[in-house]
């Protein structure tokens, strides 16, 4: 094992691993409890609510939500069944599909937003200085960049 992690890297890796294992679970739990939504369901609806005409093509939505197309398709199916989103075929390209947020979906996501933001703040940002936030963004962006390069979408 010539290429082992040194001590500082070990510690950093354990801390990072704790975050990537626990944070998603906590977010999902809180959202599920407060709004009956999973984290991705919330995120997908939030992205749609910010998009022009509350609509986005599925592949673009998948990229923005950091999800595989297959996963996103399942999510949209679930949201569709609940009446929060509808599918629409694109008129100009027969392959493309749009997801469109319904009024009920917008109501739902707007109701969930304040609680979710509070959770994120409590779990992540409380206790971080402005400099910390900047560092966090720089480091995560660097790592995320390597993730995309390894498996380019």
């Amino acid at each position: 094992m010539d290429n082992w992690l040194d001590d500082a890297e070990q510690r950093a890796w354990r801390s990072l691993a704790a975050v990537i294992l626990k944070l998603p679970a906590e977010l999902d739990q809180a959202l599920q409890r407060d709004a009956g939504l999973s984290h991705i369901e919330y995120w997908v609806m939030a992205l749609l609510s910010e998009a022009p005409h509350q609509r986005l093509q599925l592949s673009h939505l998948a990229a923005q939500a950091n999800a595989s197309l297959s996963r996103l398709s399942h999510v949209v199916t679930r949201l569709d069944r609940r009446g929060f989103v509808v599918r629409e075929r694109a008129p100009d390209d027969g392959r493309a599909t749009f997801a469109v947020l319904t009024d009920a979906g917008r109501v739902q996501v707007e109701a969930a937003a304040p609680g979710h933001v509070a959770t994120v703040r409590a779990l992540v940002f409380d206790g971080l200085s402005d400099q910390d936030v900047a560092d966090l963004e720089r480091l995560c962006a660097s790592i995320a960049g390597r993730l995309d390069r390894g498996r380019p979408v």
Copy 2:
């Protein structure tokens, strides 16, 4: 929404979210492909291999692996079925159970380790300076601390 995230927090949150969504998926994929193990299965065996007499009580193992006891029990069952781990009742406390790494398990985890370390290095640490690594540890430890306080194990 008086308590919204400001611009810098938004960006940091998006980057962090990308990491916590994609990194576990990549790690699992790489480990599954190279060694036929999931990330937790690997981690559980790695923790056992470092423990005295290659054994740990299930609840301690769960805490160290950042997993629920239920999840850990399922993982141990799978590893047991494959012959990598065995269960042992504690002699002094009839409730406690130990997981013990078998020889086959040790061979397996030692074979998987170099590739896994290389993956972690490629995805996380390549391109980070020593200072970055220190920052990463500090920030993640801070966040992880808040995660534990929110839902104390």
